[in-house]
Symmetry: D2
Subunit: 328 residues, 4 copies
Amino acid sequence: MLTPGDLILLVSPKGKQYLRKFDPEAKLHTQDGVIDLSQVTQAGYGGVIASHMGSLYRVLRPSTYQLIKGVKRSTQIMYPKEIGYLLLKLGIGPGVRVVEAGSGSGGLTTALAYQVGDTGRVYTFERRPEFYELSGKNLEAAGLSHRVARYNHDILQGFAPEGMVPGDPASDPSGADALFLDVRTPWDHLEQVAAVVCPGAPVGFLLPTTNQISDLLRGLETAPFEDVEVLEILVRRYKPVADRLRPEDRMVAHTGFLIFARHAGTPFTGSIPVLDRVRRTQENPDDNAPDTPDATATPHTVDTAEEPHATDTSNMAASDPPPSGADA
Amino acid sequence: MLTPGDLILLVSPKGKQYLRKFDPEAKLHTQDGVIDLSQVTQAGYGGVIASHMGSLYRVLRPSTYQLIKGVKRSTQIMYPKEIGYLLLKLGIGPGVRVVEAGSGSGGLTTALAYQVGDTGRVYTFERRPEFYELSGKNLEAAGLSHRVARYNHDILQGFAPEGMVPGDPASDPSGADALFLDVRTPWDHLEQVAAVVCPGAPVGFLLPTTNQISDLLRGLETAPFEDVEVLEILVRRYKPVADRLRPEDRMVAHTGFLIFARHAGTPFTGSIPVLDRVRRTQENPDDNAPDTPDATATPHTVDTAEEPHATDTSNMAASDPPPSGADA
Amino acid sequence: MLTPGDLILLVSPKGKQYLRKFDPEAKLHTQDGVIDLSQVTQAGYGGVIASHMGSLYRVLRPSTYQLIKGVKRSTQIMYPKEIGYLLLKLGIGPGVRVVEAGSGSGGLTTALAYQVGDTGRVYTFERRPEFYELSGKNLEAAGLSHRVARYNHDILQGFAPEGMVPGDPASDPSGADALFLDVRTPWDHLEQVAAVVCPGAPVGFLLPTTNQISDLLRGLETAPFEDVEVLEILVRRYKPVADRLRPEDRMVAHTGFLIFARHAGTPFTGSIPVLDRVRRTQENPDDNAPDTPDATATPHTVDTAEEPHATDTSNMAASDPPPSGADA
Amino acid sequence: MLTPGDLILLVSPKGKQYLRKFDPEAKLHTQDGVIDLSQVTQAGYGGVIASHMGSLYRVLRPSTYQLIKGVKRSTQIMYPKEIGYLLLKLGIGPGVRVVEAGSGSGGLTTALAYQVGDTGRVYTFERRPEFYELSGKNLEAAGLSHRVARYNHDILQGFAPEGMVPGDPASDPSGADALFLDVRTPWDHLEQVAAVVCPGAPVGFLLPTTNQISDLLRGLETAPFEDVEVLEILVRRYKPVADRLRPEDRMVAHTGFLIFARHAGTPFTGSIPVLDRVRRTQENPDDNAPDTPDATATPHTVDTAEEPHATDTSNMAASDPPPSGADA
């Protein structure tokens, strides 16, 4: 049973979509006439309601995909194909604390806020006032603003904006589990990025040009990050006709490149002598200590392996067959 | 601070990965020597611990990507590129109830269970005993089995297996929010699928061959499903070298095609006369009623539009710029 | 020095292209004014000429790509990406005799006629009178009609049309070196195809849907063809901006699938006993004999190998390094 | 009827290929035994011949594709997917004169020499002696060396090598119709390239990395070239199984990027005043004059249009339907 405040997506006979928080007292004015939303209670998700002119509208529970696509935007938003993949690479799920900049129109913010649930937190930073406003409205429309700390703040000055209460997880992003940057010059922010996430945290970047990738790779080489990956994701659609199945004639060929890395945590190398290692460990006695990469450590190496290493879970599933390990 | 039971991923100097639930009393036997896991408390996520031979291992919080890749498998598992996308299309997030068949090695089950959180539920069905066992072990290893109802059951006999308590959301998948099938002949199960999900629910399928897509499309045409989409997802990786940036020489060219549709809910058409519509609405007085598509209704139409319709959220973000609507 | 009759491509300041046979007496009427083509003699390829209104036009020698693109069309023409590849797979070059059906707008015909030179021959068949006309005009415009035998003929009735002089290589396609079919149901013509090409000849097909590929593969399995390949070719363009290099936003995602095979020649198998083989060879005493596949022979096998076998040219280049064999 | 000297491709039961010039006196030593090549006369193209151990070999006329693949190589050779496309972009056909550097293993040289026929000419330059040797042997093996002028020469010193007879089209590449560079730093050679080709000639480049593309684009901006295009070509193969049609699991994801441009000829602009234009034309009174780009001319503009301009052939095919213009 739908209750007031639940998100509903109303779909017209022509496919036009209206995202609303359910209010049984409200009326929706459409090109097909006025719709009395009190009908929604009875119709429920999947049901139909009628305008005063007799047009039938479907009532749906919006998917995350539809929430993202429903974001009002004045710039290009991130596409579901990239968002879905980064959710897995960054481990975004219930309870996770994730930092994002810039907010843009709030498409990715919406997806992150949906996925972290009421026990997680999204911290989003946006320098330009108009996008700070727009992303806020979009989050409100999606009913997700209570999960998000939003800042109209330039991250060149770090991730400790005015108004933040240090140590308060509702507003302070310190020690975040993950981070994603969709900004023009991410290499300018790597030190700040390394400082705000917890050791070992996954971070991601979106960049449209190959020149920017090269610049970011150079930046990552001298910052405390490991396991750098560069990739792009292509979605190819087919005409869904059983007897004449074929790809669509045209497709989106490029949105952006995704770059992933992992905060290098405390220095890691298998080649340093034991005594050094012991000393090094003693220098980081606290796993909550701020990020202090040892400048004398062997630089991290970039893992270019196409195939990830198999994971051993053997003592938990003792007699299992061996993994066969193909990647994508 | 890590507490016993937390999931940890231990990474060797050569990149070998060990997924474990943290037990400070345990020892890990590796090719690099024995590791006393009591060190993990102090090291924390992102820290390093040493084997008795002096090899250093990184301690990480596993990402969803790593959990999926870490699944022990005797068949091909689904790839993160497909899983990430279907999470968004099916709206998988905290609190969602989702049905899956077959369980296979449990890769997708693991991702679904991670995303739905403690307030959601995954119902997974597997016909073959050996995979029923294997997927269970993998879920246990990932610490996610408490979120999953698992059935060693052939869905040709429906989604009401022996042992299910009707009406108990912990075991009964009825009215699920979403469903995904990774089986050889999904067209044989469409009636059962339509019966188990809630009206309007999104459903998805994975199929390796074009012949199967055609067969499924034919099935969907005569079953109560709408908004059919067929697509595939390609990930192209680049060698992360700043001064010699180029794509990898080879890539995974095919894993499977994704097909999405939406349960058609109660019949929907803009062309039926008003009186008929009124009667129709009266026939479905309860939004929790089982799925009873009207056999006399106009058949649903397949939406082949490449670009999704813009969503109107206007009364919530009144002065926003117009959406520019590109898809993927 | 350009001589009358040479093909010239005139390009306007806005990029509009005019393909002409050079006639120094002619005038070209354009939106930029009238151009006296006598200027072309002095300008030459690469030079510029002026309209009476002072607009400058470039004079170019058209590339094959431009000839194909310049074809006037009322249907989709084949794309250079497919044409370039099939030229190599079918071995189209100077002196080659190649059969084509249907002619369509004449785009592929133009490319074939250009490549075979004055010593080769193209035989093209078209059932529909309007395309027979159109392709003829396009060939004439490209100055290539003298290399082409054109027939307004349905190949369901074979490749021996009315008006053909049997045994005359100018009109009779028998024993052609190669063949390409761009027709809706190529599986209906395989027996005729096998009869018109020489033993061992490469043949190719263009088909837009996966259903047609399956139908053709079934046809090829029972016809005398070997080494079947199915592939598609994608061209991805980049914005040519040095400091902001990135792929174009959109691309052509599908034109058609290419299928290649080779006429099986006389039966081939390594497993038949010696006596049988000897007898078999005696049954085909003449290498110019018409195609008579032995119905009792082991069916041909489909070679699905992704990587072609390395070719040994060792006795001609004795000390060469070994081939390293990667395909595409 | 095959005559001595004709190229033949012998294919073993296991698919191993032997490229030879037909010599009826010769014997081929294979793993399947010795083959008396006198049998080839009777077998002909498409026929079979037997080794002394009874193994049957197919006799084929090699396609251009097979000639390229048959090149013995010590470096990566160019792939047919790129070669086919550049043949069309550069207009390579019978009678064409084309310059190439470096020769490498001779794969592209072989294809060019095949396509230009006996009336055309290939001029190929190779700095490293070992590749100069290797490409020569490969051309000889393919029976095409008589169409090629080969130089062991570094093009940093231009395209007028020692031993060239100025003005002799058999050895002097001056005024070539087209040019292709497969070298590491093509931007170092643009002035020489502009000097060796005829005005308006198409030129092409192959480069593996995005950094090199950017460098080349910068070079082209200040050299007399127009109509710059950057693209890459992907071939996706399918398993040719009628009832289980699907793409191959893996594919070649990257070989190189293709860059095309056109020699700008004499300066071209629609905006210069008439008097200036007249003077300019007088400065280039001879269409055979060497390339002397006017340094004061408006810089050429890069055409980034995805869709080529339609070509008007209207006065030759007067009543034709309008072109519909899609590219690739």
